[in-house]
């Protein structure tokens, strides 16, 4: 419900802004080839891309949680210049154009990359063009969302809970497991959901670092991009699917979880 009175000028500007969001979505829905939609949905290219996208994005989110929560804890417990530096580093992927991220990943983990060359020469391990590369690309761009959400949650946590737990004799692991993490659950949840959504939609870094191959690295966004030129109907259907998934995520997340940000 609209409670307070909204000045007309504000209302008009907001209306224009909302149109900017609404029209593209309406375009997708109105122009969708609903007749063929079902056929496209069961098309192997579509289902493969969907399956791969789900696998990669969920794996990326899991990795982001395992690595990102510790990063958030470190960030919350350091101060001053070091903390600012670390935080800038971990949130850089958020502002970096994804393709740039992809190039950077190549230069780090490609066969001639600073770390990749070692992996290649010593272990014969090659990362680009593999599903692992797609997962890495998605993790790279999406983890910052989780880190930020969890760090914010940690900062707003009353430090006396941990102090009380310690006074009661709990060692640092018990404190983490029985007090800190349970209290962080809302922040972790909202961070993970946003991380997953971002990973699901990742394109630029993935296509640059992991390339494009159906079933291995062709995620839904890449499939849409390709299909646009050869089979627009399939592209629209895939786009709709991703739109529905994203909407479901956002609507499903209540205010109080988004509030953790």
């Amino acid at each position: 419900m609209i409670r307070a009175r909204i000045p007309p000028a504000i209302g008009i500007l907001a209306g224009v802004g909302l149109l900017l969001f609404l029209l593209p979505l309406a375009g997708l829905i109105v122009r969708a080839p609903w007749n063929q939609a079902l056929g496209e949905l069961t098309d192997p290219t579509t289902t493969t891309a969907l399956g791969l996208s789900l696998f990669c994005s969920l794996t990326a989110t899991a990795i982001a949680m395992v690595l990102g929560i510790p990063i958030a804890i470190v960030l919350a417990r350091t101060h001053g210049t070091l903390r600012n530096l670390l935080r800038a580093l971990t949130t850089l992927p958020m502002v970096l154009p994804p393709v740039v991220g992809g190039v950077a990943l190549l230069l780090a983990f490609g066969r001639r990359g600073i770390a990749g060359s070692v992996l290649y020469q010593v272990f014969g391990l090659q990362i680009p063009f593999t599903t692992a590369a797609a997962v890495m690309a998605e993790t790279f761009v999406a983890m910052p969302f989780l880190v930020i959400a969890v760090e914010a949650g940690l900062r707003s946590l009353d430090h006396r809970y941990e102090e009380t737990a310690r006074a009661l004799g709990a060692n640092q692991w018990t404190v983490l497991a029985r007090v800190t993490l349970p209290l962080l659950r809302p922040a972790i949840f909202s961070g993970a959901v946003l991380c997953w959504a971002r990973a699901l939609g990742e394109f630029g870094a993935t296509i640059t670092f992991a390339g494009n191959f159906p079933g291995r690295t062709q995620t839904v966004p890449i499939a849409v991009y390709l299909a646009l030129e050869t089979n627009p109907d399939a592209a629209i259907t895939l786009s709709l699917i991703l739109l529905v998934v994203s909407l479901a995520i956002l609507v499903g997340m209540r205010d109080r979880w988004l509030g953790a940000l």
Binding site: G110, R111, R112, A210, F213, T230
Partner: protein, 246 residues
């Protein structure tokens, strides 16, 4: 304060209008397949020095260009990497007049400088452990490559299917891929990779057509460009870039 602002605006307006004394610029917008970049950049430069036309050259995979044109992107000339896409454009009513074939291109295997993996033929591309990159079948070069491989009876498992043939080239130049199939012209103009010839029996010859678009606003300039491409000068540039003449 207001006066100063008005004076500044006046100067800015004059500067915008001025430049060459008020003569409107002749321009031509060309959509060309990415494999044409080295050659068409030179042809564009030639156009600039010999006429007063300023060319804007836009390169991408042929299928991408066609898609953009279908969506209404404004351009004057379209140079495609195969006849199929030009035919589609024709059928969609995008062309004004007939298209003309202006060059041919053959395929060649691209490898890292020095050919460290010792590749000698298409058959070598199916070697296990080799990282091979091809253009996506929706790209002319990809389509031709698939044809060539079929001709040679070779099954390849590519690591990636690139959106434009230059993407294949860059992956090899970056060292991420061991080999790929590109155009002869790509290898000639690249300088960063080495090539392995594909025998004519297996090779595929791609035809490059060029046409003026029906939506053009600069017909005279478009014709001038097209004629330059087809002229002795243009053909010489194309040959030097590794193409075969019309």
């Amino acid at each position: 304060m207001i006066r100063r602002l008005l004076v500044l605006l006046a100067i800015a307006a004059m500067a915008a209008c001025g430049g060459n004394g008020g003569i409107p610029q002749a321009t031509v917008t060309v959509f060309a397949a990415s494999s044409l970049k080295p050659a068409f950049d030179k042809i564009g430069a030639r156009l600039l020095t010999t006429t007063n036309i300023v060319p804007t050259l836009s390169y991408a995979g042929t299928q991408t260009l066609l898609s953009q044109l279908t969506q209404g992107a404004p351009a004057d000339v379209f140079a495609s990497a195969d006849v199929a896409h030009m035919t589609t454009a024709q059928n969609a009513g995008l062309l004004s007049g007939q298209s003309r074939i202006f060059a041919h291109n053959k395929l060649e295997i691209a490898v890292a400088r020095g050919n460290p993996k010792g590749i000698r033929s298409l058959a070598d591309l199916s070697r296990p452990g080799l990282v091979v990159v091809l253009a996506d079948p929706s790209v002319p070069a990809g389509k031709y490559a698939a044809q060539a491989l079929k001709n040679a009876g070779v099954a390849v498992h590519p690591a990636s299917l690139e959106q434009q043939v230059t993407g294949v080239l860059s992956k090899i130049a970056l060292g991420e891929a061991d080999a790929g199939i590109v155009y002869v012209s790509d290898i000639v103009t690249s300088g960063q990779v080495d090539g392995v010839t594909i025998p004519d029996a297996q090779n595929v010859i791609g035809d490059y057509p060029i046409a003026i678009l029906s939506s053009t606003q600069n017909r005279a300039e478009a014709e001038t460009f097209m004629n330059l491409v087809l002229s002795a000068d243009g053909q010489a540039i194309l040959k030097a870039a590794g193409f075969e003449g019309a």
